[in-house]
Amino acid sequence: MSQPSALSTNGLSRRKFMAGTVSAAAAAPLLTSTARAEAPTATQPTLRQPVVTSLRINKQAYELSLDTRTSLLDALRDHIGLTGTKKGCDHGQCGACTVLVDGKRVLSCLSFAVMNDGKDVTTIEGLASTDGKLHPMQQAFIDQDAFQCGYCTPGQIMSAIGCVNEGHADSENDIRDYMSGNICRCAAYPNIVAAILQARGETRGA
């Protein structure tokens, strides 16, 4: 197993990291003169060097050679082919990319893949048992019609499981508050609350 080399991941969020590298480019459009801002300092070459990263996803081990800037979300989707986890904003604002890391809900777009080296990641594809039996939360989402287009649904379901396991599903108001990081543009919210109420007991025991 290879170590994630040059980049220490301790306490380093993707947002802080990006701020240190491309913020000058991001800020440039705010200027209106024809003389543009100086070109930003080129990203340090070492950051582009692929790093071998070991991820454990849905109880299966993966070893990937990744650009260190690869988010956990893009690693799942583009490098492993687990496209159930969705990209809705890439900024941690919509919740569509929610996965469980060591059992806790995490926005996979705000987490570099290399930061998850050695951790246990669960995605929507890892919820149903191998015999095809759905997780109680998945079944409840079907029963309560807790989605329409279905795009935010994997994130809603992962977040709902996290919400129950955190102990934030005791009341409808709690559920509404602790599920408000997951936007559903089709607005299935009342049905999502109903689904969590239906599945919370079984989820706690799962």
């Binding site: 024809t34 582009r48 809705g88 604002q93 019609d145 795009y151 935010c152 508050d177 990081g181």
Partner: protein, 759 residues
């Protein structure tokens, strides 16, 4: 039964779970950017940072130096393809890389393509443009706008409807109001990002892109690329929310197709959330002046609705909701006028109930104010102005259950317990207000084709190039086949979202259920006819019976007499393994060109206000309770009830969900959604989901949908009125009405925010 699955009433179908539900909860529903594609290269857009002027120079050296960069597509590289043509299949006429002219902020100036997403993003951010910049015009009241009348200037808008002598009637009216209203720029923000994946197989092009209009896009993309449409395929099996945003194709599609051709490998470009604000369409901001005159008895004698809408310089997009507002009530006289105000903005487009959301908001807010001015109950005010025929063409409504909707919603809401006095209802520190408004949406239908195959094993394969945008159209199409062929829903596979399937119209205008189900009905009935003929033929299992007494159930032909024959046995006597029917449905009144136009991606719409015999609309009534904090003026909507009548309901579960989502959209229109425009630079400011506010779970509490039974055979063979865009019409006015009731403040500019209630 759970609230999610309402018990069907008369003319309402079973609340079957969605046929694709399991795929959606297991991550196996593949949206276009999920479809596995080998050896893919990643594209990232670079966009303009000015709203008006010319690109004088592009500096690409830094971008080209990024390791892994493969190509940059920019000016000159699109010269061999045609520019987009503005229309239902194309969002704009601007070919951003055909011309160095900048028409709006965020216009595409280049596409960087690289081995990885990270490298493509890095390269795109390093592309530097130099501009010859001109001062842009942002919106209403900015210097440099150009105002034109909509009628006659755009094929989208035929006429300013009118009736009688408004001026005289208004002058003579005993009670009148004359007020102005406004609605802001709004962006659809479906949670699925906009994306294009393109690859070539020889001279054939395949595009994976979320689309509400695969047939229209196939034809338009082929036109741009100067190809035979038969060699272009658009694939969009699941769509992650659309709301109109994925109806017209944007210029990105052809650019990515060209990049894939240059590179000789698949290219995927996922637009960032920020870039979507400038590269996709949006709901235009609108302004309204409404005048209503009435007698002291509350009967309206005069109604005038003038609207102004922002559009782009190159394209005259029209919102134009006066056709519906002008026909809503029994006004004695009607005067309307719609004007377009051109500014340096990207071209607006369809967004859920495009005309009705802003125009009916203005009308209904005015109706509430008029009721208050008359000292009448707002429900009674609507009741006494209920028309026998619509006021413009004096045609009857094919059906109109508005009063039933008001009565049922009012009872469920407890309207009778409302103290009509403004500010009279309190709960601790909260001022309580209750309001209501009417929802209306035209019932249209378009030609549609479908292929249905019934096999000897009892399986059904249904193919139709419509689009599953979350409406449940796959499910209701399957339900129609299930009912007509007597086959259980789990034996039916439904294929949609691919331009190689039989063509369906754009999934817009709430036409899909009516159009698709009418085509499926026709195909299934053709199968029934063949089965019955074979069964009753000499030597057939039901020889001698009359086939008008037949039905299909549980894999059998069942006669009224009780005799029955297995479908399997009938197919055996026919010596076939399957019956397959390809049906083309054309609505009543369709022109001889109607089906040709369906294949050409330019389907005719019928119904609404277009038909000779009657006008066709679905109606609803919404009641809202708001609570306004007496100190902070924070506004909450703890309760909302909507009752809707929309002809035959195919599936009470999916219908309720769509109406519920619509009502929540309406709450968002009222209290949250607005794209802020920096007036100095004609630039959108809040281009993400942190600052563009949409309702979240905590914003919604008690919500009730009532499906009012209604039968309407005139609308289409399926008897279905669309309802996907009904629920969010009128809601914002109901909220404004409730805010007035709570606070005495009449807010006419959306969204209603705390600051408007502080002054």
């Amino acid at each position: 039964m759970d609230a999610a699955a309402p018990k069907p009433k008369e003319n309402q179908g079973e609340p079957l779970p969605r046929v694709d539900a399991r795929l959606k909860v297991t991550g196996q529903a593949h949206y276009p950017a999920d479809l596995p594609t080998a050896n893919i290269a990643y594209g990232a857009l670079a966009t303009s940072s000015i709203a008006r002027g010319k690109v004088t120079k592009l500096r690409l050296d830094d971008a080209r130096a990024v390791p892994g960069l493969l190509d940059i597509v920019t000016y000159g590289d699109m010269d061999k393809v045609d520019k987009p043509k503005f229309g239902n299949s194309s969002a704009t006429s601007v070919g951003p890389l055909h011309d160095r002219t900048i028409f709006h902020d965020g216009q595409i100036i280049a596409l960087a393509v690289a081995e990885t997403f990270e490298a493509a993003e890095e390269a795109a951010q390093l592309i530097r443009a130099e501009y010859d910049e001109e001062k842009p015009t942002a919106s209403f009241d900015s210097p440099g706008t150009k105002t034109v009348a909509a009628a006659g200037k755009s094929p989208m808008f035929k006429e300013d409807v009118k009736a009688g002598d408004f001026d005289a009637a208004f002058a003579a009216a005993a009670v009148k109001i004359d007020q102005r209203y406004s609605t802001p720029t709004q962006h659809h923000n479906p949670i699925e990002l906009f994306s294009t994946t393109a690859y070539w197989q020889g001279d054939q092009l395949v595009v994976h892109e979320p689309s509400q209009n695969v047939t229209g896009w196939k034809v338009e993309l082929a036109r741009q690329l100067k190809m035979d449409p038969a060699k272009v395929r658009i694939v969009s099996p699941f769509i992650g929310g659309a709301f109109g945003s994925k109806g017209p194709m944007t210029p990105r599609t052809a650019i990515v197709a060209v990049a894939a051709k240059r590179l000789g490998r698949p290219v995927r470009c996922v637009t960032s959330r920020m870039q979507a604000f400038g590269t996709q369409t949006y709901r235009a901001e609108t302004r309204h002046r409404i005048r209503i005159g009435a007698g002291k008895d509350g009967r309206i004698t005069a109604f005038a609705h003038e609207g102004w809408e922002v559009t782009s310089r190159p394209d005259l997009y029209v919102v134009g909701g006066t056709s519906a507002t002008g026909r809503m009530y029994g006004y004695g006289s009607v005067l309307t006028h719609v004007s377009l105000v051109q500014a340096d903005r990207n071209t607006p487009g369809y967004m859920r109930s495009p005309p009705e959301t802003p125009y009916v908001y203005a009308l209904e807010n005015a109706m509430d104010e008029m009721a208050a001015t008359l000292g009448m109950d707002p429900v009674e005010f609507r009741r006494i102005n209920e028309p026998k025929t619509e006021p413009i063409g004096k045609k009857p409504f094919s059906s109109r259950s508005l009063i039933q909707c008001y009565d049922q919603a009012a009872e469920a809401f407890g309207w009778a317990k409302r103290d009509p006095k403004v500010g009279a209802m309190r709960d601790g520190d909260w001022l309580v207000g209750m309001g209501c408004a009417t929802a209306i949406y035209p019932t249209a239908v378009a030609p549609c084709a479908a292929r249905v195959r019934l096999t000897i094993d009892g399986d059904v394969r249904l193919q139709c190039g419509s689009h599953e945008i979350g409406t449940g159209v796959r499910t209701v199409a399957g339900q129609m086949a299930s009912e007509r062929l007597g086959v259980a829903i789990d034996r039916i596979s439904v294929e949609m979202g691919d331009s190689s399937l039989p063509p369906a119209p754009v999934s817009g205008g709430s036409i899909s259920t009516a159009s698709v189900c009418s085509a499926v009905l026709k195909a299934c009935d053709a199968i029934r006819t063949k089965l019955y003929a074979a069964a009753t033929a000499e030597g057939g299992p039901l020889a001698g019976s009359h086939n008008e007494d037949f039905d299909l159930a549980d894999g059998k032909i069942v006669a009224k007499s009780g005799a029955s024959a297995k479908v399997e046995d009938v197919l055996k006597t026919m010596q076939v393994g399957a019956i397959e029917e390809y049906a083309e449905f054309a609505p009543k009144g369709a022109t001889p060109e109607a089906l040709k136009k369906l294949y050409a991606g330019t389907p005719e719409f019928h119904g609404g206000d277009q038909d000779e015999d009657s006008v066709k609309y679905a109606f609803g009534a919404e009641f809202v309770e708001v609570r306004v904090n007496r100190y902070t003026r924070e506004i909450r909507v703890p309760r909302i009830v909507g009752a809707f009548a929309a002809g035959r309901i195919m599936n009470t579960r999916t219908a309720r969900s769509q109406l519920m989502g619509g009502m929540i959209w309406g709450i968002g229109q009222a209290l949250h959604e607005a794209t802020e425009v920096d007036r100095r630079y004609a630039r959108y400011v809040n281009r993400d989901l942190q600052d563009y506010l949409v309702p979240v779970n905590a914003d919604i509490k008690d919500l009730q949908v009532i499906l009012v039974p209604e039968v309407d055979h005139a609308v289409n063979p399926a008897g279905v009125k669309g309802l996907g865009e009904l629920g969010n019409v009128g809601t914002a006015a109901a909220v404004a009405s409730a805010v007035y009731h709570a606070t005495g403040k009449r807010i006419r500019d959306l969204p209603i925010r705390i600051e408007q209630l502080l002054v």
